[in-house]
Symmetry: C2
Subunit: 412 residues, 2 copies
């Protein structure tokens, strides 16, 4: 299989605050063409380091793609170093210069002298038009090696790759097509999922199967290689079908949707409405439900009830119950769910109470203890969870199990 390396250029990408993300998008694009990414490198605005990195990459890989370092300032060294590594002089490209001048003129500006630098091109390099900025890209070939030079800003890099680079890679990529699919799973940990489906996927070398944790969700990724998309899809259908069978209702998403999108879509399709009553999640469940465009169709209202008095006044949880069972209890979770449902007049109510920490835990009621209650017209029920991690993770997991309990109780 044809393989590639990606080099991200820019000193800001070597700080503790930022990292290259262009390569994730490029990897998806290259994978879809059947091209594997074997190595990714980040270097600063440092001529010697970039020169060595480029030489090393071209030695190891037939396709090297760089992003960044094409701006008009002294710091932007990519053009100069590429010319040196490929042993070609930089020559001024008159058409490119005209184009850049025109881009400034169109906005009523005069091109600053600095920008002339952007029309310098290594001899015999093919310039790539930048439809969203002034920095042109480059394609250089040397024997069986190909070097693609792209700008750093994603809004310039992505359309340039799509319009001018992908068509040139399609014939090179050749006979292999790569197709991917993904399942998202709730209600099981990574190792539970693995022990359930490993007996299936280990019988296949194509498609390959990878289990990942993304935030609080387990994702199962499948990648198939074949001579055509149809063949790759058939391979996926076979394996993914068996895995779906094994995981059953624990799979909540087959096309990359989030849990809140799945819950929202099914609420909308059934004409149901929902209201939330949250304590330890502090509004996160309402926030996730309303992350979805069009959620006003089914989301009516949410109450974040931190104070016990609020639980009584806005949700109708009896003060006596709070005193007897404590705010973190199965009974209160159910009363919150039933209370918000009744007052908001919705089809479904969901209530969450728990201890997110770091303080407030006791031996009986430790940090991570969470009760989720759900209420419908004919059912009020709850589940108890002991969730791992820090405050942030416990809160996110609590929102996940709450949305999942709504899905399992009302929306399967």
């Amino acid at each position: 299989m044809f393989h590639a390396e990606i080099i991200a250029i820019g000193s800001e990408l070597l700080t503790p605050f930022r990292s290259d993300t262009n390569s994730l998008w490029l990897t998806a694009e290259l994978n879809a063409l059947g091209i594997e990414v074997r190595c990714k490198t980040t270097v600063g605005d440092d001529e010697l380091f970039l020169e060595e990195t480029l030489r090393d990459a071209l030695r190891k890989s037939p396709l090297v793609i760089t992003t960044g370092g094409l701006g008009p300032t002294e710091d932007d060294i990519t053009r100069k170093v590429v010319a040196r590594v490929m042993q070609r002089p930089l020559v001024l490209h008159p058409e490119l210069l005209d184009r850049i001048r025109r881009q400034f003129a169109d906005r009523g500006l005069t091109m600053p002298p600095n920008n002339e630098r952007q029309a310098l091109v290594p001899r015999d390099a093919e310039p790539l038009n930048n439809d969203y900025g002034t920095a042109p890209g480059l394609i250089l070939r040397e024997g069986d090696r190909m070097l693609v030079v792209l700008p750093g800003p994603p809004r310039e890099m992505r359309p340039m790759f799509t319009a001018y680079v992908r068509p040139k890679l399609e014939p090179l990529a050749g006979a292999v097509r790569l197709r991917t699919r993904m399942l998202r799973v709730a209600g099981m940990g990574e190792s539970q999922v693995d022990s359930l489906i490993a007996p299936i996927y280990t019988r296949y070398t194509n498609p390959t199967t990878t289990i990942l944790i993304n935030n609080t969700e387990v994702e199962v990724h499948f990648t198939a290689k074949a001579a055509s998309d149809a063949e790759a899809d058939a391979l996926l259908d076979d394996l993914v079908g068996q895995v779906e069978e094994a995981l059953g209702a624990n799979v909540f998403s087959h096309r990359g949707e989030t849990l809140e999108q799945v819950v929202g879509l099914r609420l909308a399709v059934r004409g149901y409405t929902i209201a939330t009553a949250e304590s330890c999640t502090g509004g996160l469940i309402a926030k996730r439900l309303t992350d979805v465009p069009g959620s006003s169709k089914y989301f009516r209202e949410g109450v974040v009830a931190y104070a016990n008095e609020t639980k009584t006044r806005l949700l109708g949880v009896p003060a006596e119950l709070l005193a007897r069972q404590g705010a973190v209890s199965a009974e209160v979770a159910e009363a919150m769910a039933a209370g918000v449902k009744a007052r908001a007049g919705t089809t479904i109510g969901v209530g969450v109470t728990g201890i997110a920490g770091p303080d407030g835990g006791t031996e009986d009621k430790p940090v991570g203890l969470v009760y989720v209650g759900v209420a419908g017209d004919f059912v009020v029920t709850h589940r108890k969870f002991i969730l791992p991690g820090d405050r942030d993770r416990i809160r996110h997991l609590a929102s996940q199990v709450a949305l999942d309990l709504v899905r399992r109780t009302f929306l399967l």
Copy 2:
């Protein structure tokens, strides 16, 4: 200045779904020691590629740190390739083997034969104990080069670096100390901040100044180099003091705190309480306020009022006002803030109404239009914003301007 390279090892880090984040933490640690990171590379579980990458790195940099590939399976190739590159045979380290066996025994388990591999160490390498897992790390020296081999999971890698690697780097790092500081700014865009402070920071080459966007906040980072921490701090005090002066109350954080932490701390110090009434932000403001441990001291309750009926029933916004001004209006934002304050009996109420999109915009009231109202004992006021971006960004920006208006109105 002494410099380093970081190599992340693992095929999952070359997919479109995941990227190496260990290097960000390591970069902060190395920078604090006065060691610059000049290059970062990610390679898969691919012996030949890793071998070439290691050789190239050791040629270019006196310190090379790898993370990952130390597990007990065939895929985990780091030990083997390191031994080959350093031309040392792998030998079984009896004490390490004992330690790994004991770690299993302590959990009532028998060590699987696979894990014996983790006690193999290149000759003359110094093993590093793993206090949070079974994979030991390694330090190898060859002339003036140093190779540090760390496990991939952050909860194993970080404590190993802190306990066993940092003390060894401190003397090497030598005379240069690097100190950093960061200001967070609200209420201004990146370019506004830059035009205000560029006249100040461009007069300095040490400290260096970088302006970054982190989520919806503008961050100004400063880095000073000097022979001692005290000298570096003095350089920072001088420049940062002038920048703080220029930015005034727009700076909300001087030590890396988030806006919700700053608001929470100041509410707690003053003994104030707060309640939220949200429409377009859908619970995000309550979620951010309750992200902070101990927020139950000042956060009483939140209402997410999507439906107009909810705004009337739970917040007391007159139905007549909603009909006359529309739900997205200055009057309704103020009524929501005053209503939630009065009913919850808090010191402060905050209300947000707006159009997050993608649908629901009109010519008069476009997507991105957001009104924030705040109410205290002696003041009810509002601000109007037209916020850019997609639904997710508009909602996040709206939560940011709302928390910032609380800060500016009540907490300066």
